[in-house]
Amino acid sequence: MKKILLLAFLIAGIILAQKNVEASSFNIQITIPNDYKIMHPGEELMASIKLVNLGSSGREDVFLDYWITGPEQNVILQRKETVAVETQANFIRFFDIPEDAGLGKYCLHFKVTDFNGKESTAEHSFEVAQTHIDRQVSYWFAGILAFILLIYIISKSRPMLKRLQMQVRVSRMVKKRLK
């Protein structure tokens, strides 16, 4: 009797395990356009998602899970939705990058769970870099520095220009008088 029970548990375990590792019939493609591969805190990330149902020919409701992980693998954003897919579905989703997001490599994760609980996942990385404002400030700073440098060069070269001007004048005077 014990042996039968043990066998039954074993079979049930195998079935459950198989169910857990079994992937859904969905093929997922996530694309982040080049313009969105480097983001700045506070901006909106755009991702294009393509779902292809390889298993079923009919309309099927699926659960979508999105989450974004930061450089330290912390989840900074999470979203869920349900969509109906027949054979293929394309959609674009936008995700707000928090203002306080640190700089570094981020990852957009995507998971499809079908009605039977089968899952497929995909992910795509992107980068969060210095903000535009910071960059603008840097440009301004560089511009001001360049301007100061220009003024310095002009002021330093003034005596040289004056000397050259004087030398030309002297040469003219000598030529004129001693021709």
Binding site: P159, K162, R163, M166, Q167, R169, V170, S171, M173, V174, K175, K176, R177, L178
Partner: protein
């Protein structure tokens, strides 16, 4: 002899200048006027029947341009003054002279060591280019400077 420093009394200074410039006759030259305007210097020379047609004046007294063929250089701009003298020396072909009237005036506007450096530069360049340099200085002014610049001149006359 290419360079001469004449130390004389203030009263006799102009007479000495006149006689030196007169001795150059028709040779073209450069006259650095540090204590009189070009106009006044030229008038004095003309009164003494000295032909000024071939004399190029550097006026260090007047700050504004009065004549097209006169250079106006502030006495504190020693680099520019030295450069102007060198350019004249380079551009005037053949024999030429340089008169500096009067060296000690430069001490009013410049540090003594800068004046020494200026004198050294000018006398060196002049000797390399066969220029007869005559610098004047009143007896009473700039004794220390005169002691420092004696060696840059081939001859020093105290009259």
């Amino acid at each position: 002899m290419t360079s001469l420093l004449i130390i004389t009394s203030v009263e006799k200074l102009q007479t000495r200048v006149n006689s030196v410039v007169k001795s150059f006759k028709n040779i073209p030259g450069i006259y650095v006027s540090l204590n009189k305007t070009q106009k006044s210097t030229e008038n004095i020379l003309r009164k003494n029947k000295i032909n000024t047609n071939k004399i190029f004046f550097i006026d260090c007294v007047t700050s504004e341009k009065t004549k097209e063929d006169v250079l106006h250089i502030a006495p504190d701009q020693l680099d520019l003054l030295s450069s102007a003298i060198n350019t004249f020396i380079k551009d005037i072909k053949g024999k030429k002279f340089l008169v500096v009237d009067a060296l000690s005036t430069l001490l009013i506007y410049n540090d003594e060591n800068k004046v020494v450096k200026f004198v050294k530069e000018v006398t060196e360049y002049a000797s390399q280019n066969d220029v007869k340099v005559t610098a004047f200085s009143p007896k009473t002014k700039g004794e220390e400077l005169l002691n420092k610049i004696f060696n840059f001149f081939d001859e020093v006359k105290k009259r």
